[in-house]
Symmetry: C2
């Protein structure tokens, strides 16, 4: 493997000059540049990335932390895929590498160590939860002013850098659309409350109800874990309420679809017997029967933005706290428009 010394010798210049050519630094005679480039090409020389990282004291990699579940593989959702693509697109555009880090639930979270070992210059944390240990780990990151960014998760009381979407508004729009159709009793199938976005959706649900003068009834709030199966399982409990109520809002599309299936096995069909709205606008939502009303979340853009912000933190050193919320869009499809409304309303 050819190195700088070889190129310098072949081109008849010093190593520093080779370095200058490859980094476009300082005044250089055009003729010298050509000599060096030719020599480099002849030797098939490429600067050694590790040595560069070493000399520069930075890895040029961004770590992306993804939760890893052995059974319920969240990666199979379009959620992480979209975020990852957004992040990857922006990073490679700006010459950074993407180090994918699966976080096993058992091992202790030590984000700071990633920086100590210089494996990454910054990190983006996906799917973090409000569980013991997490806040402390993040706080340490923040206190040390290390470049990081959370995605779709906030922690009340802690001014962590984060990119999220306006899930309160999303739920509000979704639930309001049901209310406007005349529904007063609306079931909400929420995700785990360790995710702040679950809490945001709950707030949106409550807000919509209160706005409409409908009292908040905790009996109508169910909880799943965002998996297809949990939606399917929730069908049992929800079915018993269906004669009374016929509007459901689910925290994501997967639960909504699982629920749809579970309810159909009990004889209830979406858009015929009850109105249903999902969340995320995953690809599949548009082709269920009936097509699923949902809320579009700009995941790709969020990923891009998070990457951008982390790189800004890296280049600008410190910075005011990042806290951006991207807008979401309610998408009305057939599932939330009951063909025979009011028939079972109280």
């Amino acid at each position: 493997m050819a190195n700088r010394k070889d190129v310098a010798k072949l081109a008849g210049v010093s190593e520093a000059t080779v370095s200058r050519v490859f980094n476009n630094i300082g005044p250089l005679r055009q003729e010298t540049k050509q000599k060096v480039l030719q020599a480099a090409q002849h030797l098939n020389y490429h600067p050694n990335a590790i040595a560069q990282s070493f000399a520069r004291g930075k890895s040029n990699n961004i770590g992306v932390i993804v939760p890893y579940f052995q059974k319920v593989n969240l990666m199979s959702t379009h959620y992480f895929s979209e975020l990852l693509s957004g992040i990857g697109a922006k990073l490679s555009e700006l010459g950074y590498g993407l180090l994918l880090l699966y976080q096993s639930p058992d091992e202790s979270k030590d984000y700071v160590k990633l920086f100590h070992t210089q494996k990454v210059d910054g990190c983006i944390i996906l799917g973090s939860k409000d569980v013991p240990g997490e806040v402390e780990a993040l706080d340490k990151l923040h206190q040390l002013q290390l470049p990081y960014c959370l995605v779709n998760q906030t922690f009340s009381g802690y001014p962590f850098h984060s990119i999220s979407a306006d899930h309160l508004d999303g739920s509000l729009q979704a639930v309001s659309s049901l209310i406007m159709q005349g529904y007063k009793k609306i079931i909400f199938l929420n995700g785990p409350t360790e995710f702040s976005n679950s809490i945001d959706r709950l707030k949106g649900y409550e807000t919509a109800m209160i706005k409409a003068g409908i009292p908040y009834n905790p009996k109508f709030v169910f909880q799943g874990n965002y998996s297809l199966k949990s939606g399917y399982l929730a069908a049992r409990g929800i079915a018993s309420l269906l004669p009374e109520i016929n509007a459901i809002f689910a925290g994501n599309d997967r639960m909504a679809i699982g629920l749809m299936q579970g309810l159909s096995e009990q004889g209830y069909q979406a858009s015929r017997d009850y109105a249903l709205i999902g969340y995320d606008d995953s690809e599949i939502s548009s082709i269920t029967s009936p097509p699923l009303s949902t809320v579009h979340v700009p995941l790709f853009d969020m990923g891009q933005l998070a990457a951008e912000k982390v790189l800004q933190l890296i280049s600008q050193g410190t910075m005011t706290v990042i806290k951006e919320q991207l807008p979401v869009t309610f998408i009305e499809r057939a599932s939330s428009q009951l063909r025979t409304p009011y028939t079972k309303q109280s």
Copy 2:
């Protein structure tokens, strides 16, 4: 940031000894080890990963190359997610990092450069296609005996390292199951033939037909691009044949589901009017109505195996060509079992 020198000074030993402690090398007095570890802890010392890579001459990272499409984001399929998870699980188990590399279609493929720059010690290539330039790039990798592994793609005439699944058998099983039910005219909605696994499936389809003494009819073979939409669009052409035929085999679940939706808009329902089989056993296949018959592919295992093999190539230097094929399993669900069979058969 503390370094080895600081630890050595505080512990009152030489730098070499610190190194020995952290690498568990050579005979060490227990007492010395403790001193060093305490000093390290006190200074919050962690060996610098970049410097280690530099000194050892290897990055300790494996590059995973993933195709990147701006519009049709393949990452949103469970296909890449499962593979990635498998790879990630195995790599982190063995102490390697996963560098995710999105391959833009425009830029020239130069896998070798990744090694020249020392960014990775090996690479795993997902979703490569048989297009001009690809074979040459791979051949160069192979000639230079660099550690790499293809997943789910082979190139006839080239003994590239690869891990795949037995898609010929998968299709054979699927199509045979239709034949055994009495269907003689079976439509095959294939994916792009630049993927060797598409070709394998076609062979499986043909083999099953020939085995049953049914002549191969190219009129019954359609082509999509593995996207939901392409399945949906294929519905038009296929619908015109449905009065005559009523069994369809699709190259993946997404196309099958798109097709199902498209055909339902024309009044045809799976399992009532036609039998349908998909491929991949993606999560969604089990909850469509009717549940989709499909072929399970052990993607997670394939990812793990590919990672294992690349690491073997790294540690053992050269090696005989890797060419493993994992078995697949046909999963029969309602969609392929016509409720009123033979009614429209010729």
